[in-house]
C-alpha cells in the first residue's frame, strides 16, 4: 500500500468484509483536519444518506423524505475507521464482520422478513 489517489482508488470502490462478502461501496470518505498536520484519512462511510448528499441537496432531501415515508427515524449508516482497511486492489477489503455493520440493516431485514419467508431461499448455491 503505497501512494493512494483517494478519488481514483478509494471512493466508490467495492467493499468486502473479512469473509470476502460484498458489503457496499465507499460512499463517502471523512478526513480529519488538525492545525499543523496533514489531513488524515479517517473514516469510510457506507450508507444511502452519504451517497444522496453527494448528488446534491435535493437528492438528500428526497432521501430523507423516503425515509420518513417508511417511518425510519435512524439512518442505517456505517462508519468504519480507515485503519480497518486490509487491502486495496480492485476491491477494498475491510477487517470487519459484514453482518455486524449497521449499513447491512436492509439486507438482513429483507433476508429475514421477506426473502427468508419464501420457500427455497436458503442454502449456498443453486
Amino acid at each position: 500500500m503505497g501512494a493512494l489517489q483517494l478519488v481514483h482508488d478509494v471512493i466508490d470502490s467495492q467493499l468486502v468484509d473479512r469473509h470476502q462478502e460484498k458489503i457496499g461501496r465507499v460512499d463517502e470518505l471523512l478526513l480529519e483536519l488538525e492545525a499543523g498536520k496533514p489531513p488524515r484519512v479517517a473514516t469510510i462511510v457506507i450508507g444511502g444518506g452519504a451517497r444522496a448528499r453527494r448528488v446534491g441537496r435535493w437528492m438528500h432531501a428526497c432521501h430523507r423524505a423516503v425515509h420518513a415515508l417508511f417511518g425510519q427515524r435512524v439512518e442505517h449508516e456505517s462508519r468504519v475507521p480507515f485503519d480497518a482497511v486490509r487491502c486495496i486492489a480492485d476491491t477494498i477489503e475491510l477487517d470487519v464482520e459484514g453482518d455486524a455493520l449497521d449499513s447491512m440493516h436492509v439486507e438482513h431485514w429483507l433476508a429475514t422478513h421477506v426473502i427468508g419467508r419464501i420457500p427455497g431461499a436458503s442454502g449456498e448455491r443453486k
Binding site: G2, A3, L6, L29, L31, E34, P39, V41, A42, T43
Partner: protein, 109 residues
Amino acid sequence: MSGRTVALSDLLGRVVRDATGRKIGRIEELNAEISLEHGASDYVVTHFSVGRSRWFDIVATGNFVQPLVRRVTRATGYHRYEIPWDWMDLADPARPRVLRREEELPRGS
C-alpha cells in the same frame, strides 16, 4: 484526536483560489500516503491535484491514448497543479485557498 472532520465530496470540485484571489481550478484528486510520523497505518493527504476540467482529467489519468493527451495538453497549455497539503488553507472547506501565488505552484504532468 481532536480536530474538524470534512467529507471528501465536500472538497471535490471546489474552486481553489491562490494568494491573490485568482481562480486556479478545482480540486480533483487528493493524494495520500502512509504517514511516517503517526502510527503505522495512518494515511494522510500529501497533496491536492487542482485542475480545470474534470472530464479531461478523468480521460487523461487513465493512460488514455497518451500521445494524443500529451499533444492536446501541449497545444492548449492545459495543466494541473499539484499543491502540497501545507500550502492549502482549508479553514473554510467550501472556499479552499492556496497560500502561494499561482506562478509558484508546481505543475503536474
